[in-house]
Amino acid sequence: MGYKLNINGAVREVDTPEDMPLLWVLRQELGLVGTKFGCGAGLCGACTVHVDGQARRSCQIPVGTIGAQKITTIEHIGETAVGAKLQDAWLQIDVMQCGYCQAGQIMSATALLTATPKPTATQVQAAMAGNICRCACYNRISEAIRIAAGTSEEKPHAA
């Protein structure tokens, strides 16, 4: 089936089965490999993209269901003010180890700060719990979000 997709501000045409997940359309039909394959089951968040500004797992979105919704990927997120601020924060404290999941982390964090500019630590945890980092850079992921949001440090577990 032929589809016209609105991706990163441009219309891209693809010809794929309607049930092909957006992840594989992005990576292998369009060459946008910044969106990562981690589990194929919506369990790890490595493939997170924005669909009309919402963080969604692209491995769970059949291309045929997208229609005119606007897709934003990691390749384009630096064009948004929040995305750019998060990328800077990520670099400031060098969040990553292997780095493979970080595109998905940044996409989830961008959606969070766009909707909730000053999240509490609990809100950060809730928004980011769907993104696995196998290297477990979680301390720095939350710290980078704090830096970008300009919120002060708090300890969610210091009960």
């Binding site: 089965p17 589990c39 089951a41 999941c101 477990a136 210091a158």
Partner: protein, 738 residues
Amino acid sequence: MRHEAMRRGVDRRTLLKVSLLAGGGLMLEATMPFEADAAVSGSAGAGSARLSAFVSIAPDNRVTIVAKNLEIGQGIKTMLPMLIAEELDADWSQVVITQADANEALYGPQFAGGSLSTPMNWMPMRQAGAAARAMLIQAAAKKWGVDPGRLRTERGRIFEIGGKRSIRYGEVASDAAALTPPDPKTLTLKTPDKFTIIGKPMVGVDSHRIVRGEPIYGLDTRLPGMLYAAYEAAPAFGGRLKTADIEAAKAVPGVRHVIPITGNGDYDGGLADGVAVIASNWWIANKARAKLKLDWDLTATKGHSSDAYQAKGEALLTAGKGDDIRRDGDPVGKIAGAAKKVAATYSYPFIAHAPMEPQNCTALFRDGAMEIWAPSQTPEDGKKAVAKVLGLPADKIIVHITRMGGGFGRRLMNDYMIQAAAIARQLPGTPIQLIWSREDDIRRDYYRPGGWHAFEAGLSADGRLIAFQDHFVTFGDGKNVARAGDLGAHHVPAGLIDDLALTRSMMPTVINTGWLRAPTSNALAFAFQCFLDEVAQAGGTDLPALMLSLLGARRVVTTPGERPMKFDTGRARDVIEKVVATSGWQTRSKQPGRGMGFAFYFSHSGYFAEVVDASVSEAGKVQVHKVWVAGDVGSQIINPMGAENQVRGAVIDGIAQAIAGQAITFVDGAAQQSNFHNFPLARMPVTPEIEIAWVRSDNPPTGLGEPALPPAIPALVNAIHAATGKRVRSLPVKLTET
């Protein structure tokens, strides 16, 4: 001491070669001996090995350093160039890092494992930088007609001491290329107080590309005309393909080829039988696997089930005492006559690696040559395996190293590389990217093997540990232990008490086992340090105090045997005392449902003591509040930015192994877990605060990928005991049942 001698200057066995860069500038190749000796792991005969570094300085002052090692997230691609740049006195902002291909003949060892890259490269990389710096100084001295002793360097520039002249490296680089390389023994290395790059927190050299989603991982490899392959292997380890009906899969739109592959009979180190489905898009190929009608011979897999292993393991524990790994004194007699005895059985399951980037490899077979783009921790081994399995000459195989989305030891094995090459071999001229699904990754791993331990300890009337026994039941063919299922003769408390026995029994398995981050230690630390926590309490003390009394005076304990292991009790004491102080251990509060646990472990040359503060809810949910870490990996933390990340990641990895519910179970050789819903990894809400204290000792720096992990598990399990009074003797921790 050896490293004292090394500090005086550059090793005189260093070979230096210089050439003029195309377009001008200096290219230096430094070939140096490296010593992965007692400072590392006691590996024998390493003193004769050599490795090479390549540095070039262009006329525009740009310094290019070849990253010869592989990046799996451990930070080596940033750290080794830092060593060169430090002694070169380069301007770090002008340093460009390029990734080498796999070529051990040229570069020396290229692997990521055993936390060995740091100790192996610490001196050689610095020597290479010092040599390049000396040549640039020499060229400037000649240009100005002054004595080289009157020149100094700083951030990519040469200055005349007391004079007004200065010149950029790039401006004399071409001149330097025409000079005779210096005699290595005339070169000296910086003293640590002069370091401007080493010890400073440096951002990873690929980080800016990662946050923008640029293609740098193996899975991001794209070649013109490339097709994607999925590989259907046997549903259980040891299965062989009898017949394959591939017609329905072939008929799926988008599927280009379906190719049954006959393995070489060695599914562990070689090629497993399977069927490759190849399509224009991997999702199509993977989905078409469901249309394959395959008949497998699963005879060999029968009975290889977790329940059967558990029953056999328990039977072996009590059936005999096993074969001696080490026996000192008379542990049996001493325990029998001891004033107090403690005995307990510990066990742990098989677990998977699950790096975030699923296994993948891209291969192109063309004109009799195989070109491979591989995320592999041992690319040279992979090259050899491809040569052997496919019958190709090794010089017809090129392996490009890609950045890896995690390794954790999984990519020390190259099964996916062999598969990709075997498929590409069938389709000359077409680049093939093999991708494993997450399910393939979890089900076809080289798992950390499970194991069982029956411990016994004898205590004196005043509570001292006087005799110790461990009967370890592991996997193996009766003669050889399964990969990563061993227990070393050096294992603490061996060498620290007079009457001790470590013994071993084995049972066979068809399951592939392998090295998982801190291999053997990730399991043994739990069993030994939790049992010793029981011993300490039986003796009326606590584990830090018991460990300190066992360690005794500061000295180096050397394990007897052909691979001697050196253990420095002073370094162990220092990290224990440090973490006891930072965590406030002596004044810890005792409140119901919350407690602190301690553990110490020595592995991969690193000494780590950790304290965990955890609480357990009435429903049995464990929450880790804070972890204090004290670690000694030598005199210098090379890149604190990466080092702290390694420690935090290792600690959280350990927490996940203990409480996330990680276990791989088998039914007739088939893994029962398949994805992150039933093999859970750590997520942000489990993350505690982690406070790290480095203990600097006068030893060469060693690696950090692994040694902080092992003690995290027993420290947490001991904290659970402190919180609840419950002894957890089997992983993963389950407090909600029973």
